[in-house]
């Protein structure tokens, strides 16, 4: 059976996906599969940046161009803004990025500081992780934590220790890229636990089903983290379909694929359940001149099965 059949009518919130690295086909497919909103955390683009203006333009694109691009497919685009851990190691540049971050974190649609945390767990990463926790605390914004690939379990504990040391309420922190080895501690300590369904390197969705069966749906949320690597922008709807197939209740599925992420990031004051359940074309806050997105801006559909291109 086509996975789309079992999830028809459901709405999804992919709370971690790097659309900058994806094509319009992905936006189209996500919209078709029920993704109504997403969060794009600021991250490493694959190519190291060498100047602060590259960061400025990237941050500006997350609150400008990319948001518009998503809207053409009827998807609401939010972002978290921060200096990623890998590039925190270029200290001279990192200093300059820290200076421009306050310009961006108060902007509309910025629902948190992220993704920040550890990669190599160097002293420089520690320094800028702490500085950005302070920034989030001052701004009253949630924090989206990237947990490291290497020395993961210890790095995850350390990220939470430091957040608490800086007086951040665990309820304001979304610890991302969890697995079976990290989830218990994250939930026990009162943090939100994000899971990335990403082939070969992070979670597989069969494992995810087992995690939800074991821990229940409270404070757990899933995402695709689709980016420039081999990844799947439909990971959230596909995992919802698999959960349904394997007997997880609709209410639980809704919590881990939509509501928990909304609840966590709504603490920014920049998104709400009410806003997400309104049809986009008539949403005044998006200010697409009432209906211009539906009339002029909505992307026309290309017939993929036809060899004729008009």
């Amino acid at each position: 059976m086509d996975f789309m059949d079992s999830i028809r009518g459901m709405s999804f919130f992919d709370m971690h996906v790097h659309m900058t690295s994806r094509t319009t086909d992905d936006y189209q497919a996500m919209a078709d599969a029920g993704v109504v909103a997403l969060i794009e955390p600021a991250f490493w683009l694959g190519q190291p940046r060498t100047g602060v203006d590259s960061f400025r333009d990237y941050f500006a694109s997350l609150v400008g161009w990319e948001r518009f691009r998503a809207s053409q497919f009827g998807i609401r685009h939010y972002c978290t803004i921060g200096l990623n851990s890998k590039e925190a190691n270029q200290e001279e540049l990192a200093e300059q990025v820290m200076e421009i971050l306050p310009l961006f974190i108060y902007k509309e649609g910025v629902v948190g500081v992220g993704e920040i945390g550890f990669d190599d767990q160097t002293p420089a990463e520690d320094k800028y992780y702490r500085a950005q926790l302070e920034l989030a605390r001052e701004a009253g914004l949630p924090v989206q934590i990237h947990t490291p690939h290497r020395d993961k379990k210890q790095g995850t504990s350390r990220s939470m220790d430091i957040a608490i040391e800086h007086g951040i309420d665990p309820g304001m922190v979304i610890v991302d890229h969890n697995n079976e080895e990290t989830v218990r501690e994250v939930l026990d300590r009162g943090f939100w636990a994000g899971f990335t369904i990403y082939p070969f390197t992070k979670m597989g969705n069969e494992r995810m089903v087992e995690v939800v069966k074991q821990y229940g749906p409270e404070r757990i949320m899933i995402n695709s983290a689709a980016d420039w690597g081999i990844s799947d922008p439909l990971a959230v709807p596909k995992t919802a379909a698999l959960m349904k197939q394997r007997g997880i209740s609709d209410e639980a599925i809704k919590l881990v694929t939509f509501t928990n992420a909304v609840t966590a990031f709504a603490q920014s004051g920049q998104l709400s359940l009410e806003e997400l359940t309104q049809p986009m074309g008539i949403d005044q806050s998006q200010r697409y001149n009432g209906s211009s997105v539906l009339r002029g801006g909505q992307a026309p559909r290309v017939d993929k099965d036809s060899t004729i291109i008009k």
Binding site: R56, F59, A60, V63, G64, W65, R67, F68, I100, L103, F104, Y106, K107, E108, G109, G269, Q284, S285, R287, Y288, N289, G290, S292, V293, G296, G297, K310
Partner: protein, 224 residues
């Protein structure tokens, strides 16, 4: 244009909006604080954070205020604006304009880091900013922008291009409006600024459309 009169008229309009007491109080406080201690960081912060305090309801424009706006700045209309957009344009008028270099640099930085709705407000403000000649290049950047709302903010219901664009920039605006499916009847100066070179370009474009088997955008033939 007299900046003080414009600022007062816009503020009066904000005060006339239903349930705007909270917004009015907030804006007055910010303006007082900024005028007694004009720090750029504060100017930027208020500009960015303003929608959280004033909201986004659509603005209602009584006929007498529309008339007053037209008198202070002919061609200006704020119809279909939201309250945060109106308040942001008003806020830009609170920036001291005595030194051109500082003034232009301060506002240009806002363009560089602008989020979608901020850019809409910034381009909407061009007809009422000080040193109008200084914004010509920035205005053409708005035409080059790829975000529909930003394009509309400079192309439609905005008197700045008709007043300050030279012929090549004007013709780009019209062509870009057709290419991006805008309702060109909302462009101020559409007929007054029409010219022989534009008519020729449009005629070539019409031929190209026909060759591709595509229809012509509405109202194009009237300019040819």
């Amino acid at each position: 244009m007299n900046i003080l009169s414009m600022s007062q008229t816009l503020f009066y309009l904000i005060e006339q909006q239903p349930n705007s007491e909270k917004a009015v109080t907030y804006l007055r406080q910010q303006a007082d604080a900024f005028s007694s201690n004009p720090q750029v960081a504060v100017f930027y912060r208020v500009f960015t954070a303003l929608p959280r305090f004033v909201g986004k309801q659509p603005v209602v424009v009584p006929a007498d205020i529309q008339f007053a706006l037209q008198r202070v700045r002919p061609g200006l209309t704020v119809q279909d604006w939201t309250l945060d957009r109106l308040a942001r344009v008003w806020w830009l008028l609170q920036l001291p304009a005595d030194d051109q270099i500082t003034y232009v640099k301060t506002i240009s930085e806002l363009f560089k880091a602008g989020e979608l709705n901020e850019l809409v407000a910034l381009y909407s403000a061009l007809p009422v900013l000080a040193y109008p000649e200084a914004w010509k290049f920035q205005a053409t950047e708005g035409i080059r922008n790829n975000i529909a709302d930003v394009q509309s903010a400079i192309m439609l219901h905005n008197p700045y291009p008709a007043d300050y664009f030279d012929e090549p920039a004007w013709n780009q605006l019209i062509m870009k409006a057709f290419f991006t499916d805008k309702d060109v009847t909302q462009i101020i100066g559409l007929n007054e600024r029409n010219n022989a070179r534009l008519a020729k370009t449009l005629t070539d474009f019409a031929a190209e459309r026909r060759a591709a088997g595509r229809s012509l955008p509405a109202h194009m033939e009237e300019l040819m």
